[in-house]
Subunit: 337 residues, 2 copies
């Protein structure tokens, strides 16, 4: 293993000079710099991460806590994770992957051991048990998701409430008066995941304001569950002409069932999805949708974190504005029959 000292010797300079060439923390004459860089290349030197972390008290690692359960938009999680990893690299950080399994203990462990300089938490619940710890230790962190009380925390999320409102606004604008919302699995609501409840709030308050009715039904994924849910919806509200779907694994079943029942999309019923663009485009009907900006969320989270670590920090909440893309699944409400 090549050490800094060996590089220094090879280049005929002191250890600190090599260190400073690497860090750029003080000015080095061009010729010295070149000699050192040359030696580094020739010897194939790589700074030792452990030694660096010990001496500098910085690991250059960001911990990312992903949820253990996979009952949600897995591809979205993955996309966020990848965005976090690549963005982190551009800032000189690596990413440590933690699953939710350890729970709050993981926070203690990582904080206490100095394994990571900061952490990003995904899938934050409204009353998340990890939050008290984050507040009391002065661990730098960013949440992807918005808890009930974001005070003293930095959060990045899609503005779910605005997302819900946007969906209703679009449908109401097309003349739909009875809207059904196909939601996530009941478990998602039960554990008070912020995004699900906030979407609902946005949906309902815009509905109230614009005089349309919304009926919300959680739904497990899959064909059978969707069939049941759909039957109940039409049973209760036969006049339903608009759908908002926030459940990736219900999208295709819903379309198939509507087709099967002879309800044409968008002539008879309109469907707005809240899902990644890829899903909207690949569906059997190209779906009007509000995209989930996974990459931006990951990128924002890292950039905020790096800013904090560099002392340019600011505890605040960033809500990304939703964007609705009109595709082939929505149209004017049919004349009342």
């Amino acid at each position: 293993m090549v050490t800094l000292a060996e590089v220094a010797q090879h280049a005929g300079v002191s250890a600190s000079t090599v260190s400073y060439v690497l860090s750029g923390k003080r000015s080095i004459s061009a010729t010295t710099r070149q000699r050192v860089e040359q030696s580094i290349r020739e010897l194939g030197y790589h700074p030792n991460a452990g030694a660096r972390a010990l001496a500098s008290n910085r690991s250059n690692i960001i911990a990312l806590m992903v949820p253990l359960r996979t009952d949600m938009y897995v591809p979205v999680m993955m996309e966020i994770a990848i965005a976090v990893a690549t963005t982190a690299r551009t800032h000189g950080y690596d990413v440590l992957l933690l699953t939710g399994e350890e729970g709050p203990d993981a926070v203690r462990r990582v904080t206490g051991s100095g394994l990571a300089d900061a952490m990003i938490l995904m899938d934050v619940e409204l009353e998340d048990e990890r939050l008290p710890l984050l507040r009391q230790t002065d661990q730098h962190s960013v949440l992807i998701g918005l808890p009930a009380d974001p005070n003293g925390l930095t959060c990045v999320d899609l503005d779910w409430s605005a997302t819900g409102a946007l969906c209703v606004e679009h449908l109401a604008g097309l003349g739909h008066r009875d809207i059904a919302v196909i939601g996530e699995a009941p478990a998602v609501y039960e554990r008070h995941t912020g995004f699900a409840e906030r979407t609902l709030d946005g949906l309902r308050s815009w509905a109230r304001a614009s005089g349309v009715r919304v009926l919300h039904r959680p739904c497990e994924g899959g064909y059978d569950a969707m069939a049941l849910t759909l039957a109940r919806i039409f049973d209760e509200r036969p006049g339903t002409t608009g759908f908002v779907v926030q459940n990736e694994s219900a999208v295709e079943p819903l379309l198939a069932l509507l087709r099967q029942q002879g309800r044409a999309v968008p002539e008879d019923v309109s469907v707005v999805a809240i899902c990644p663009d890829q899903v909207a485009v690949q569906a059997s009907v190209r779906l009007t949708s509000v995209a989930i900006p996974a990459q931006e969320m990951g990128r924002h989270a890292v950039e905020h974190l790096v800013a904090k670590l560099d002392g340019r920090g600011d505890d605040d909440v960033v809500l990304l504005a939703p964007e609705l893309t009109v595709r082939a699944s929505t149209g004017p409400a049919p004349a009342a029959s």
Copy 2:
């Protein structure tokens, strides 16, 4: 920050004793151990990761390289990643998340810096450019996926060739004579991803042996691409009654299109999928399928790696046996019309 020295002082023992209590590398009297453990708890001590890595030359971190691209079955990747992370934790390791973006450089960086003790590579191509590096450095590693030449490497993978054979065996056993294979996107074959080509090999050689015909068509995901592909298949082989699908985003479109064309599953055509069980179960027809054992692959990979790190190593190739579950999408071939 609490240090080992402080714990030692608090417990009235020397630093080394505390260290040995932690590592268990030499025997400690019960009373001493308890005093030390007590102090550790009272002071809330966490060993410093950097110092530990520096002194022991072990980081207790495993690097996991995931593919950057997301044109494949993302949930499988995620499931593997999570299985890797949780299994690693049970062995005292953390996981560093690397994207394929850096390519072979990441291998050098991680190896050279001692950031990780070992690495797991996913999405290995037949002639993967990272492999020469792995062979020449004595970096411990495990591949998830099987390259063309696994010599000197440890690999874990599903036995894709047997998987292909199993699918054909099942369909041929039911009397199907003309089988169409809906494959992954062309790009997947072009970059010579092992699993895709091996599945095909297995499919074809069993077909040859059992006297059935197979027609292979790669397919981009989605409804439109599937429609085109299906039309071409029936055009070329009107007598096709069996399908093997190895492309998650083609599954539901295929079922929908068959339904739409009045071909009943499984009465008129049978479908076998190669996909995670969850997909098979949630599809609009419960699919006979060969499962992709994501969790086992992740678990195996970690356990092999840990064995190697502990000197119990063995460079070898572990191919997991495929299992076919019969569900509602396959049945006897219809009498020739």
